[in-house]
Symmetry: D3
Subunit: 321 residues, 6 copies
């Protein structure tokens, strides 16, 4: 994540008001408009791995290259405040030919660490059918793409590696719970946890930021994941023709029902304990991500509560004991 | 539908109170209990193609054979009234080794007539991809099973041939509407209509009455239908590799979204006009079935309204102008 | 729709960026504000029958006459882009004394064509009571006003003739469906379809754009329509005292229940098949209008989906096969 | 309410277990069935003005006359208990030719008392338009029928005079509140209160117990009431052509909006303070009726709470301090 | 409420467009931003007891002191219009060291008048337990703070004295209703009314405008009020050990259930008549406040309806008869 | 759990049809009725720790003692089947003077085992304030009563020890999750878990089966628990006056918000991560209890699915892989 070179490094999260900034960032949003006297104003959002900031580019700014969403730029400017938010006014701006990856958010834990955890969890599965099913799914190109996929476009784990991070967490939560409820089939539970969101690989494509694919919107990750598992089961059929039909249906059901309710997009509700537990742990991890990040993002501000969140329809209590 | 033989024929729908009945019927429900003095009482529901009636079988009734749900019986008895409903008290009852089919409800129109309509509609599809897709799906065993499947376990079209009857109606409604909205792609619409409920073939199995299969409850007819189309598209791929991906996604989307809303079990909402129209026509045919039958069933009773329907939470106005 | 004269014609829908525009349009919205240095800025929305565009009028623009919503103006200016939408900066602007009608949206089919269809449908009604009821309602001034009324203030058919267009469509859909469900009373269905939204004549008044009347908001078009039919039935009473009370109630019920559910403003739910079918076809035509227009409006833009629609809470798939 | 004659009087509310009963009551429900050995059993519900009780009539009971719902009977029998409820086993039963009225529930206050209150409230209205409107509505046959109508078929004030009782209460509540909110138009408020439920006169017909009329179910009391006021306003038009249109609309709106919300059957929501206050007082009186009666009915039973009420989804705390 | 001194007084509610203003006001909101050429723009909202107005402060304005929310300022400026709302452009502005209280909204009736009413209502309570409970709660510092507390942060009675005003109104409404329903326990009802919102004293703190406290958001006024009453009951225990447990529970229940439903934040629903009546009167007073103020605020504007209110999802009819 | 003596032991769960039973059981429900010929029939439900069964007691049965709910009886009888459920017809029945405890359901794990787990979890809390708070709450009589309390009246953990069992499970789930989310305050989480349902001790009283107390229904366990913690915090105040107010509020908030949403009875929603996690684990344990028991209870029956559960509105898939 080398951002050195001719530029002074400046973390966005730590930028104060009234300072000069000289650094490299990623353009994540762009809007331009003409003022009455014909001059061009460009409003940008730029990010590094620590956060995001608004930029205003007036006509008198020196611009090198064509400004586009998804491009890395070098920028020189001054920070001020607009509506109580920090804003950067650009003096010089140059479009660079660089990989945007280092400027995006990343998982809290390194991808390699997550891969290790993932492989360790897979290796605990003893059941022969489930073990081979997982091997058939997480192989070759799918395995590689799975490790780089985001888990959402907004709200939670919306970055490369986010799907892996979320999957590992859910599997760990299921593992712990299986110790507390010994009646549950541990291998079935883990298999469901590892496969539950696999359709998200096809729901989003990451250009710079995750975007919906056509099948992502028309079919949805739940049915796309069901189809991927269906295909793997068809391959497994040849090797393991004795795999019980009920088991196949149970795995498919766990993927289809993991949103827990019809109104959240599952075509069926969870009908057995492992499916219900998977749904609840999936939900828990998404909620924990949001709660922890909301508080983290606004920890610097004053007062005991974050700003109002219109999606969750609440304020978060950010005091930490 | 020959019910002759040694028995006097008596349509259930026309049975009055205080008459002797001698006929053949199908057992659709059975409950038995012991009275305090140790005698056995059996309560049955029996049906013919015109309707259903309650039967009480006391110990002094002559019984031949083993009484079971799904069996055809010959019965001799008298009708009385219990809680204002007609009830039949059995004097003689014999279990017969007969096909239950003629004693079940059937479509309003003959199956052959419906098959003709179905084939005529299929033949109007000109688009080469859609034409071949339909041919691949509705062939061999699938075609035969499709013609015999029910469209529901309760509520509407819940009998062999009901799926065909419902599918033909929805396709006809779509055809008519495509004349009024010329912007719509007629062939796409018809294809969606013919395929929308195909998963119901796997959701129910008819023994005597439709029952859910394991995959019917764990996966549901929407995703089962999606999978059947997915398989046909994979076969078609070999012959027509140039079939547009968007078209494939559109057909799959029409099946997935045909319940119209997430809370009714569709994992995605209709996102283009043909999908929305298909959903609304599917809903219309189900509603018309219920309204017309509710009124038909209670036309003999007095008053202007049917009895209260707890599912629809209303009374129906049964006066016909 | 002659917009010639001294002006160059330019369809709003086809205006690109960076061109000079010289044409006549209708003002549909006006906002003005002072800048810090005391100069006046005026923001307008102007439309022709093809669409709508934003206009900025700076102090240095030559203005002739008093700028007001509902006025036709001649304008000379240049197009630019603001927030990715085309915007027109005015150089010269003159208020004209012209009928605004040609600058408003119109039905997809000509009013005359719709009137013909309407009359043809009315003429198919054979039932003597219903035939005479329709004649009593659609006569004289009411008939003329009905032909010019809008069907909504926003969302769908919100222009003069929109009520006629929507009514004809719903009646056509009902006609087609009555062929598929022969149990339905065709004449009752058509009568209900023609009368269902008649209260909208009193719910809105068109000045330039449809506005709610006082009784539109305090009473609502459903009860206003009920009252119009009630009055016609009272007149008919003298000529046809033998008209069955049940039939009168059925027609009134079809008007009252056509929104289908209490939460959509119907004081009663549809209780017989014709009322239910009318409700569903009314709903279908409104939905089709929105889906077809959404896609049409954004067909030029890139990508497979329209922008997010907050009212329908979805994106529309705009690819057409 | 003379129930003397040859019979011993026995209030249903005070009947204990294991006593002999000899009295006159009203049949409110009847069901009959045949036992296996051919004997007839009849189950009745009978009432007097204090309450209701179940009756079993075996074959060996002496029966005089034809047992029908709505008939007054003299009965001799013994009370026992079935499922913890008191039940009466008939020994002798004779159908009488008596007016059922005295055996029905009545308002807590006498009808004459209520009429006086009603007239006093009407006389306080000073506004000339509203005064004359009330005089036009509450005259002749309408006035007489209004005094005898029920306010509901179930739940609250479901007896002759119930509509008058409820109307007087709501008007009194509005009167009191108008003292606390002097900004409100007192006369408008009282007029709305007196007229709000007038459509119930046409929604129900009392045979013995209130039953829905055809227009009661197809049109509903809200629109029936609107129409009655509409007719009175048309008559008033001739005498008072200067009555403001806004005032007419306000009165009609108060009737239409008095259920407060679309999902409770009002086609429009209350849009001004008098309409909102009327809605809330109407709701309050219905709720108070239920709460006070629930506790009153079960005051004799043990424990601090009534039995579970499935409609209100709660237990009521019946302890009174 | 002396605002004299060197300033010309000008009521905000009566400010027209295009006039010079010279007066003292309270800053209730502040936002600042830099323009492209580096000059500072400050946007303020300022209020007096009659209303609120927007202010723009450009760089060329003479400013004395540090502009902050909650400060009183003297201002000289001109009114113009922006988006059809009046806006004040400041020429001179001086921060003053004055008590902001006179510039805030106040109850419609004077605090002293409300205190008298409050004491009169308390004095009507005869029941010895309830009388002493009220004396224990409304004493010393609590009594004084109660008289100054707001009843809400937004929507209704959101000013010092608002809690007292609302409490007195609800108690008066309950008093009136207790005359109409003699079955109710008047003293219990009044006690519940006086105590129902007492937790709001701890839910908000007034700096200049009401703000939530930490316990206001984490615990909520319903449970805070429950706890205050719990403490008073513990004190009363020593003097009145014979106070019935049921009565204690009833008072606590009235506080806990006064929002009427779980989804509005009451942990229990009202289970006896006094609790239900209190809930409905609390709701009524909040609704009346909103309806009366909505219409009052926009009475000057043209048309029959107020602007759309997104919280209540409606327009209000502001015509007064 | 000694049920020896003169009786043959027979587990209810294993009773088949057509066998003689001789054993001791607990009466959990009683209903009696008279037949037409004056004989008494008594219907009972009786249980042992393995399950529950219906009993019919005819007049010819020898009865010793007074049959009442909550009494232990010795019974001799024969099993038959009624409506496909096993039913016992009593021949001899004697009421015994025995402790009903051994005949009730018990936790899956022994109470002593649960107590050990509970104490171990408490001992892991290091934070001095939280450690002492827990010691103050779980002491003396409260500790003893806590160990014997049920967690519900129906649905889940509805037996003595059920509260302890549920509390231990939720605390264990929180412990495991705190390892996965290191940002969470482990001690705060555990404290919340141990205290969250403490109010249930006062919500129910166990006679034979759990019943609601007056304060259980009028106040509810959430606020009762809040009050118990409030009292302990007041005691702790004297010893630890420096305990942060925020921490006190956080613990109280965790109790108040643990139902997660207002509509489930929490007066506030969870506003920080530990509160949200506690809510979700509480919910998870209740759901797992139901899923595992549903399947366990019906494992003997045929088919892949349990009977329909009207509360959960679903069938459960009972096949176990």
């Amino acid at each position: 994540m080398d951002k050195k070179g001719p530029y002074m490094i400046k973390d966005i999260k730590k930028m104060g008001q009234g300072v000069q900034v000289w650094g490299k960032f990623l353009i994540t949003e762009k809007n331009s408009r003409k003022t009455k006297d014909g001059r061009e104003v460009i409003n940008l959002k730029i990010s590094d791995s620590s956060g995001e900031i608004d930029v205003v580019v007036w006509e008198n700014c020196q611009i090198g290259g064509s400004i586009e969403t998804g491009k890395v730029i070098g920028i020189l400017g001054d920070t001020g405040s607009y509506n109580n938010r920090i804003q950067l006014t650009a003096k010089k701006l140059k479009v660079l030919d660089e990989d945007p990856a280092p400027y995006l958010r990343t998982p809290a834990v390194s991808i390699d660490n997550l891969k290790n955890k993932f492989d360790n969890i897979i290796n605990t599965v003893q059941d022969i059918y489930l073990k081979e099913l997982l091997a058939l799914v997480f192989t070759g190109e799918t395995r590689e793409k799975f490790f780089k996929a985001p888990a959402a476009r907004k709200i939670h784990h919306n970055y490369a590696g986010g799907l892996l991070e979320h999957t590992v967490r859910v599997a760990e939560l299921c593992l712990e719970a299986s110790r507390i409820y010994p009646q549950l089939n541990r291998d079935l539970l883990i298999t469901g946890a590892l496969l539950h969101d696999i359709g998200k690989m096809k729901e989003y494509e990451i250009k710079v930021l995750p975007e919906y694919t056509v099948s992502g919107r028309l079919i949805g990750h739940i049915v796309l994941g069901h189809q991927m598992v269906e295909e793997a089961l068809r391959l497994l059929e040849q090797k393991r023709p004795d795999m019980p039909e009920e088991l196949k249906n149970m795995i498919k059901h766990m993927i289809l029902s993991h949103h827990g309710n019809l109104e959240y997009g599952s075509p069926v509700k969870p009908l057995f304990p492992e499916a219900m537990l998977l749904h609840m742990m999936d939900n828990l991890d998404a909620k924990m991500y949001v709660f922890i990040n909301k508080i983290d993002e606004e920890e610097e501000g004053e007062g005991f509560f974050t700003s109002y969140d219109p999606f969750f329809e609440q304020y978060f209590f950010k005091y930490r004991y």
